[in-house]
């Protein structure tokens, strides 16, 4: 597929979940791709303009205001603010602080993760935290219960680069803290995508994510905080 064809498939919502997450993540790192998507959006924009405007709810601002307080965007002209805190509602940040605190308390002298990614489900609820230590070591912890159907297994993935595509970090036995031994990969980067999918027992038959995405999130580099 040409870049334009891919951009249109993305804009029309015709990609599957995995492709769409990859395409979304690449917007931040690939300006040419972002431009192709922007242009495709603008080609179809007149169709959005045919929607008949409807009144917004009277209490719209009251409904969104609390979320704005918790997630103030980074000012564009400031030096890189801690990405984790900027993107996450306070409740999730608190969950991470708690999770990280427990980890440090129970295991002193553990190396610091290079990145931490909070994986959220479709509704934006935090599900799991991935700590990637680089050098073939990572750890997953769950911050809420996840239902895994019989005959299926959770698999953790990351996207080191759009060219390389998603790479499995490992399979999970159950929804509790687990160490993973991923293959040798480049040092995890700020903003790198991590996700957990539901796969057949034994893992994805293709070596790429095939099942539904349970949760996904972008990494925050830890030496910035």
């Amino acid at each position: 597929m040409s870049r334009e064809q891919e951009a249109e498939a993305f804009v029309l919502g015709l990609m599957d979940d995995t492709e769409a997450s990859r395409a979304e993540a690449a917007l931040a790192t690939d300006p040419e791709w972002a431009r192709a998507v922007g242009q495709a959006r603008d080609r179809f924009l007149p169709l959005d303009m045919t929607a008949v405007p409807a009144p917004v709810p009277a209490d719209l601002w009251e409904r969104i205001a609390p979320e704005l307080q918790m997630a103030k965007p980074k000012a564009a002209n400031l030096p890189s603010a801690p990405r984790l805190r900027r993107l996450l509602p306070a409740s999730i940040a608190a969950a991470i602080a708690l999770a990280v605190g427990i980890g440090i308390g129970s295991q002193t002298l553990r190396p610091e993760p290079v990145v931490i990614a909070v994986l959220m489900d479709d509704s934006g609820a935090a599900r799991a935290v991935v700590e990637d230590y680089g050098s073939e070591s990572a750890r997953v912890r769950f911050v809420s219960d996840v239902a895994v159907p019989d005959g299926q297994q959770m698999q953790v993935w990351t996207l080191p680069s759009p060219e390389r595509g998603p790479v499995s970090l490992g399979l999970l036995k159950e929804d509790r803290a687990e160490h993973l031994s991923p293959p040798e990969l480049p040092t995890p980067a700020d903003g790198q995508l991590y996700e957990i999918t539901l796969e057949p027992l034994g893992g994805s038959p293709t070596g790429r994510p095939t099942g539904p995405i349970l949760a996904k999130g972008f990494a925050a580099r830890q030496n910035d905080i």
Binding site: E4, Q5, E8, V11, L12, G13, L14, L27, A28, P31, A34, R35, V37, G38, Q39, R41, D42, R43, F44, L45, P46, L47, D48, M49, T50, A51, V52, P53, A54, P55, V56, P57, L60, W61, R63, I64, E67, L68, A71, K72, P73, K74, A75, A76, N77, L87, D122, S123, G124
Partner: protein, 174 residues
């Protein structure tokens, strides 16, 4: 809209107020058309505005219009609601059927409602079936599989209709 997003990126809530003032009604209209129910549309618009606020610093003006970026965030929220298996499961069959009928009708009507402009002319040049498929996808938020089922055609045929339709549309618009 570009300056409203820039204000959001600076952390100024007046920027988000301005987004609502400029396009709030349209956002509700787009969400209502794709989700049919006012409660779901309100939820989608609400979520989209929070996302717009959070992601404002990622918007780069050279890559497309600010309005296109804003609408894309909303459409994405709507698709999440439609495709989240559990999300619509509390609705009864009649309510689900009403959503389906409404979405299809609204998607197809959008063509007639287009202003006289290049996109309308180019869509008009397509065969009716690929045109309908493209409208069902973009305006109705339907997936390849759903469009194939709605038009009673095999999935492969549906994909190739859409692909050919989009190629012809792009050539016509360029």
């Amino acid at each position: 809209m570009t300056s409203a997003i820039a204000a959001c990126a600076r952390g100024e809530q007046t920027g988000l107020h301005r987004v609502i003032e400029l396009e709030g009604g349209r956002l509700m209209g787009i969400a209502k058309r794709m989700l049919q129910r006012r409660d779901l549309a309100e939820e989608a618009v609400q979520d989209a505005l929070v996302q717009i606020w959070r992601k404002a610093s990622q918007f780069r003006a050279g890559e497309g219009s600010a309005r296109g970026w804003v609408f894309a965030i909303l459409r994405n929220r709507c698709l999440n609601i439609l495709r989240d298996g559990g999300r619509l499961s509390t609705l009864d069959d009649a309510a689900l059927l009403a959503i389906q009928d409404g979405r299809q009708a609204a998607a197809l009507e959008s063509f007639d409602a287009l202003d006289e402009m290049a996109l309308k002319d180019c869509l008009a040049e397509l065969e009716p079936a690929p045109r309908r498929a493209i409208l069902l996808a973009y305006v109705g938020g339907y997936s390849h599989g759903e469009i194939a089922a709605l038009q009673s055609i095999p999935l492969g045929t549906c994909k190739s209709w859409i692909k050919r339709g989009l190629d012809a549309l792009r050539r016509c618009l360029s």
